[in-house]
C-alpha cells in the first residue's frame, strides 16, 4: 500500500509559467492603461495628437527660438520670427518680484521671506523639540516682517506705493492665509455654538461677507474707508486690503471648517462629554483635530483661491504682478508684448499654488490614521 505511487498528486509546485505575453512589462502596461477599450484607445490617440500638435510648438516658442538679449520688442522681432521675447522678463523680473521697492533694500523682503519659512517650521513640524516655545517665536513673525518690509525703527522707511509684484501678493496672501485660519475656526465654532447671540453674530458676519463679492470689499477698503477716517489719519492702503481679504477668507474658512465639524459622528461629541471634558478641552483634544483633518482639502482650496484672488487688487490700483502688466505694456520699447508677461506671471503663481497643493496632499497622507 505504502508503495503505491499516486502519480497524479504533485509533490512539489509546478514552476510558474510566465504571464502571457502582452500582459506584463511595457506592452502590458500600455495595453492595460492606454488601450483597454475602444473608448480608451480613442482618448489615448486624441491626447497624443494634442500633445504632438502643441508641445513642439510651445518648446520652440519658449526655448528654441526665444530671445533673451533684446532691449525692445522691435529688436527682438528682428532676431526671431516666432520665438518668445523674454528680454522683457530679463529686464523687469525684479519689478515683478518686488514692485518698485528700492533695489538696494531688496535684502529686507528676502530676509522676511526666509524668516517666513523659519516661522513655519514649528507650525508644520509637529515632532519638533520645544515646539510650544518655538510656536511663540513664530507668533512674532508678522511684526518682524512688517518691520522689515515697511521699515522704521532704524530701517529706512518704504512706502506702500512702492510695494508691488509678487512681494505684494505674498504680503496679502500670507497674512490672509495665516489670519483667516484662526478666525475661521472661531467663527465656525461660534456658528455651531448653542449660545444664540454668538451664533447669530457669526451667521450674520459669515453670510454678509459671503454675500458680497471680494471686489466690493476691496472698493470699500480703497475709497469708502477714507471718507470715515478723520482727516490726517493715514490708514495704509495695503493694510486695509489685508484686513478685507482676511475677513473675506475667514468667512469661507469658517464654512469649510463647519463642514468638518458636521462630518464628525455625534458619538465623538458624546464621547468627549462622557469623558467629562469641558467645552474647550473637548474641542481642542477631540473635535477640532479630527474636524480640521477632514477639512484639509477644503482649507487648502481656500488658501489657493485666496492666493489667486489677490490679483484682484489691481482693480484698485495696487501693483500686483498682473497690475504691473499694463504700465509695462505701455512702455514704448515693450509695446505689444503680452503673452510673455502673462506666461511669466502664470509660472510664478503656478510654483506657489502647486507647492501648496502638494503640501496639502502630503499632510493628508500623513494624517490618514486609520478610520474610513
Amino acid at each position: 500500500m505504502s508503495e503505491t505511487n499516486f502519480a497524479f498528486v504533485a509533490t512539489s509546485d509546478k514552476p510558474q509559467l510566465p504571464a502571457p505575453k502582452g500582459t506584463t512589462g511595457a506592452i502590458g502596461w500600455v495595453r492595460e492603461n492606454l488601450f483597454s477599450s475602444p473608448m480608451n484607445t480613442f482618448l489615448t490617440l486624441l491626447s497624443l495628437f494634442v500633445v504632438y500638435s502643441t508641445v513642439p510648438g510651445l518648446v520652440n516658442w519658449a526655448f528654441v527660438n526665444s530671445v533673451w538679449n533684446a532691449n525692445s520688442l522691435d529688436e527682438c522681432r528682428a532676431l526671431t520670427e516666432n520665438g518668445a521675447c523674454w528680454g522683457v522678463v530679463r529686464e523687469r523680473y525684479h519689478q515683478f518680484l518686488f514692485g518698485f521697492y528700492p533695489s538696494e533694500l531688496y535684502w529686507r523682503p528676502i530676509l522676511a521671506f526666509a524668516l517666513l519659512f523659519v516661522a513655519l517650521v514649528p507650525a508644520l513640524w509637529d515632532g519638533m523639540p520645544k515646539r510650544g516655545l518655538a510656536l511663540m517665536g513664530s507668533m512674532t513673525f508678522p511684526f518682524v516682517a512688517f518691520w522689515l518690509i515697511w521699515g522704521g525703527f532704524g530701517l529706512e522707511p518704504v512706502s506702500s506705493t512702492q510695494l508691488g509684484g509678487l512681494l505684494l501678493t505674498m504680503i496679502i496672501g500670507v497674512s490672509g492665509i495665516s489670519f483667516s485660519l484662526p478666525i475661521g475656526i472661531v467663527l465656525a465654532l461660534s456658528r455651531s455654538s448653542n449660545l444664540p447671540i454668538v451664533k447669530s453674530l457669526a451667521v450674520i458676519f459669515i453670510e454678509f461677507i459671503r454675500g458680497v463679492p471680494l471686489i466690493t470689499l476691496l472698493f470699500v477698503a480703497h475709497v469708502l474707508l477714507n471718507y470715515f477716517l478723520p482727516k490726517g489719519v493715514n490708514f495704509d492702503i495695503v493694510l486695509r486690503v489685508v484686513i478685507m481679504v482676511t475677513l473675506f477668507a475667514s468667512a469661507y474658512m469658517a464654512e469649510v471648517i463647519r463642514g468638518g465639524l458636521a462630518a464628525l459622528p455625534k458619538g465623538q461629541y458624546e464621547a468627549a462629554d462622557a469623558l467629562g471634558l469641558g467645552y474647550w478641552q473637548s474641542m481642542r483634544l477631540i473635535i477640532l483635530p479630527q474636524a480640521l483633518k477632514i477639512s484639509i482639502p477644503g482649507i487648502v482650496n481656500t488658501f489657493i483661491g485666496l492666493f489667486k484672488d489677490t490679483t484682484l487688487v489691481l482693480i484698485i490700483g495696487l501693483m500686483d504682478p498682473l497690475g504691473l502688466v499694463a504700465p509695462t505694456l505701455a512702455d514704448q520699447r515693450w509695446n505689444g508684448i503680452v503673452v510673455e508677461l502673462y506666461a511669466f506671471i502664470a509660472f510664478m503663481f503656478f510654483i506657489f499654488c502647486f507647492a501648496m497643493s502638494r503640501y496639502s496632499m502630503y499632510l493628508e497622507r500623513k494624517l490618514h490614521t486609520g478610520h474610513r
Binding site: 469708502l224 477714507n226 482727516k231 499694463a326 505694456l329 514704448q332 505689444g336
Partner: protein, 340 residues
Amino acid sequence: MKKMILPVALGAAFAATSLSAATAGTLEDVQERGTLRCAVSTGLAGFSYTDENGKWQGFDVDYCRAVAAAVLGDADAVEFSPTTGKTRFTALASGEVDILSRNTTWTYSRDADLKFTFLGVSYYDGQGFMVKKSLGVTSAKELDGATVCIQTGTTTELNLSDYFTAEGMSYEPLSIETNTEGRANYLADACDVYTTDASGLAASRATFENAADHIILPEIISKEPLGPLVRHGDDQWADIGRWVLNAMKIAEEKGITAANADEMAATSKDPEVKRLLGASGEMGAAIGLNNDFALVAIKAVGNYGESFERHLGTQTKVNLARGLNAVWTEGGLQYAPPFR
C-alpha cells in the same frame, strides 16, 4: 455717467458730513507729507507707463512731476496711484489722491455734479474708432450692428450711444475696465471696433504687432478736452495746479526749455519770462509757493512742447502730430493766459 454720479455724489456727501472733509489745505497736507499723491492711468502708451527702473513716465506723469517740483522742489516726490476709468473719481473725491492727471475729459457734470475743478486742457482730443482693415469699413457710418469695445465709466461710453442713436444705428457694447483689457479683446476679435479718445487709439495702435492692419476711421465724434483736475473747495490748490500747467505752456511760447531755463532766468530781458522764472516780482508767494516755482518745474520736465514731443510726438511710436495742441501762435489751441 449716470452710473458714476451716484456713488461719487454719495461719497461726496459722506465727505461733507464726516470729519474727514479733506478739502481745504491740500498744499499744507502735501508739504507736511513731503510727497504729492497723483492719480494716473493704469498704463497707456505715451501717457503713463513705467520704465525699467520702475519709474513712472509719460505725458500725464510729467505733469504730476512738474507739480511736485513746483510744490516740493523735487520732481520725484510723487506717489503715483494707477486708476481705472471708474476708480479715478472716487480716488480723488475721497482724498486718496491730491490731483488727478489721467486723460480725463472736462465735462459739465464732472465739474458741477462730481464737484471737481478742471485746471485747464493739457490735450485737445476727440473720440475716434479703430477697426481692422480686413473688416472693409472706411467710415463710422458703416458700423451698424458692430460689437464695440468700450471702457466703462468714461465719456466715450456716452458719446458712443449718442452717436449711434443720432445715426439711427445699433451696436453691441462690450464693457472693459482698462485699456490693456480693451486692446486684448479687440485683438482677439471679441469686438469689431475699439473706440476711445483718438490719442488713446493711436497709442494702442502703436502697441500692435502689425499696426498697418488696423485703421482709425476719419470720424471724430466728440470733443474731448483732457486735463488735470482737483476737488472743489480748495482754490489755492487749484490755482497751483492750473498755473503749473500754464507755466509749461508759456515756457514753450517763450522758448524756455529744461536746458536753458536757468540761463533765461539770469539773462532774459523779457519781463514776462523774468516774472515766470522768479527773477523779478513776488509771483509765487500769491499761491503759497517759492517765486521760482515755475523755473523748478520747467527744469524738471521741460516745457509743454518738450513733454509732448518726448512722449507723444512724431519721433515716438505713438506718433501724434501737434495739431490742435500746437501753441496758438502756430495755429493750435494751446493758449495760456498771461503771467502777470
